[in-house]
C-alpha cells in the first residue's frame, strides 16, 4: 500500500503490467446504482503517467471510460482524481512511481460524480466566486486609477505563493470539513481570500470577512493540513487559512489598524529618470468619461 517516491524503479523491465482498478458509474445505471470497480491491465513503460494509461485504456480496451483532462502538464487543473489513496493530478503521477501492481482510481471525493472519473466542481467554483477573487478598491474607484500601483518585491512575495492556484480542487477532496459540511467554503476559496487580503493593492478585507466570519465559515477549519499535503502547486492552503485567521484576529478582534493599501505611482513623475527604450503607456481601450 505504501509507496516511496525515492524507491528506484526497476528499469531493466522495459514494460510492466499494472492493473488499474477504475471506478465506473453513469446516470443510466450501466454499472449499478453504486457503481463498480473494473480492472484494466495496462502495459506500462517507464515514464507513463496515469493520464497516459487512461488514454491507452480508452484507445485499446474500453472507449466508454470517461475522465477530464486538458493540458497534460499540470497547469490546467482538470485531471484531479483519487489515485492510490490520495487526490493527485493524473498527468503528474507516473504509474511505476506508485510501486503497486494494482492501482485503484476513483473520482475525487466530496464532489458529485457526473460519470466515471468526472466530477462536478461547481461547489468550489461557487465558493471561490463568493470570496471575490479580484482586487477590490473601496477608497479609489477604478475610474480614478490613472497609473500603476507601487508594490515592492517583498510585498509581492507575501502573496505570490498563493496566487498559483489551478482550481484543480484536490485540496477540497482532502479536507475533512468539506467532506461533511456543505456550507463550508473549503481550502481553495479560503486560500484565495488570503491571496487578495495579502495583496497591498486590495482594500476588500471587510467585504470578504462577511463571507467567511460566520458559523459555517473559516473557523470550521481545524488545521488538519491535508489540503496542503494534497496541493500539487505548493499553494499551501492550510498555511493561507491560518494566516487569514491571524489577520482576522489582528484586524477584527484586536482592532489593529488596517494597513494602508498600495499607493498609485504618480502619473507624471518629473524627477524620475525614465529608462531609455521603454515604450509609452498604451492609450486607454475604454472611453475615459470625466
Amino acid at each position: 500500500m505504501c509507496s516511496d517516491p525515492n524507491k528506484v524503479i526497476d528499469v531493466t523491465k522495459a514494460v510492466q503490467d499494472v492493473i488499474l482498478r477504475i471506478y465506473r458509474w453513469d446516470s443510466s445505471g450501466t454499472w449499478g446504482e453504486d457503481g463498480r470497480l473494473v480492472d484494466y491491465k495496462v502495459p506500462v513503460p517507464s515514464g507513463m503517467t496515469i493520464l497516459d494509461a487512461l488514454i491507452w485504456i480508452k484507445a485499446n480496451l474500453d472507449h466508454t471510460l470517461s475522465w477530464r483532462a486538458a493540458c497534460r502538464m499540470g497547469v490546467c487543473g482538470s485531471c484531479g482524481m483519487f489515485i492510490h489513496g490520495k487526490p493527485l493530478l493524473a498527468c503528474q503521477t507516473q504509474v511505476l512511481k506508485l510501486h503497486a501492481d494494482v492501482i485503484e482510481i476513483r473520482p475525487l471525493p466530496n464532489y458529485p460524480i457526473v460519470k466515471d472519473l468526472v466530477t462536478d466542481q461547481s461547489r468550489m467554483i461557487d465558493a471561490h466566486t463568493r470570496i471575490k477573487p479580484y482586487i477590490i478598491r473601496t477608497e479609489t474607484p477604478p475610474e480614478a486609477i490613472a497609473g500603476e500601483f507601487h508594490q515592492t518585491e517583498e510585498e509581492l512575495v507575501r502573496y505570490l505563493q498563493f496566487s498559483y492556484c489551478l482550481k484543480c480542487g484536490l485540496c477540497m477532496s482532502a479536507c475533512p470539513t468539506v467532506a461533511s459540511l456543505q456550507e463550508f467554503p473549503g481550502p481553495q476559496p479560503l486560500g484565495q481570500a488570503l491571496r487578495y487580503v495579502y495583496d497591498t493593492r486590495d482594500e476588500g478585507f471587510a467585504e470578504r470577512l462577511q463571507e467567511i466570519d460566520n458559523k459555517f465559515g473559516i473557523f470550521r477549519c481545524h488545521f488538519a493540513g491535508a489540503c496542503s499535503e494534497a496541493c500539487p502547486k505548493g499553494i499551501d492552503p492550510a498555511f493561507a487559512i491560518q494566516l487569514l485567521k491571524k489577520e482576522i484576529v489582528k484586524r477584527a478582534i484586536m482592532g489593529c489598524r488596517t494597513p494602508e493599501s498600495a499607493g498609485l505611482m504618480p502619473a507624471q513623475q518629473d524627477n524620475a529618470v525614465k529608462a531609455p527604450n521603454v515604450p509609452a503607456t498604451p492609450a486607454f481601450t475604454v472611453d475615459q468619461k470625466k
Binding site: T177, S180, L181, Q182, E183, F184, D213, N214, K215, F216, G217, F219, R220, I248, V249, A252, I253
Partner: protein, 136 residues
C-alpha cells in the same frame, strides 16, 4: 456574538486550560509523586481501599475545598472547561450533514446546557468552599 470572537475565546480558554487542567490532572494523577514531595500527607494513604491519595476525603479533598486558591482554580476550570468543551462540541455538530435550521436549534440547546452546567458547577464549588462539610 461574531463567530470570530467565540472561536478566539475557544483558543484562549484552551491555553488557560493547560494551566488549570494541568494543576487538576497533576493533583489527581500524580498523587504518589505529590505525596513524595510532601504536598499530600502520608495519612491520606492509610485508610486502604480505593479512597486513598488525592481521593481521600479528610486529607486531600476537604483541605482543597477549604483552600482559596484551589477554589479559584475550580471556578475558572468550570467556566473555561465548559465554554471550551461545548464550543468544540457545537463545532463538531455544526459540521455534520443536516439542515442549517436544525443546527440553530442545536446551538440554543448547547448554550442552555452550558449555562445550566456553569451555574450548577459554580454553585457546587462555592458551596463546598463557604460551607465545607465536617466529614463523618
Amino acid at each position: 456574538m461574531k463567530e470570530s470572537r467565540l472561536w478566539f475565546w475557544h483558543l484562549i480558554s484552551g491555553l488557560a486550560l493547560i494551566l488549570l487542567l494541568g494543576v487538576h490532572t497533576v493533583i489527581q494523577h500524580f498523587d504518589s509523586i505529590l505525596t513524595w514531595l510532601g504536598f499530600i500527607p502520608q495519612a491520606a494513604w492509610q485508610s486502604g481501599g480505593h479512597l486513598v491519595g488525592s481521593l481521600n476525603f479528610q486529607h486531600a479533598v476537604l483541605p482543597r475545598m477549604q483552600s482559596v486558591s484551589m477554589t479559584a482554580v475550580y471556578l475558572l476550570l468550570v467556566v473555561f472547561g465548559l465554554f471550551h468543551g461545548l464550543y468544540g462540541l457545537r463545532s463538531m455538530i455544526y459540521e455534520l450533514k443536516f439542515s442549517a435550521k436544525a443546527k440553530q436549534v442545536v446551538g440554543v440547546i448547547i448554550l442552555s446546557i452550558g449555562i445550566a452546567a456553569a451555574v450548577y458547577g459554580v454553585y457546587t464549588v462555592l458551596a463546598g468552599h463557604l460551607n465545607p462539610p465536617l466529614g463523618g
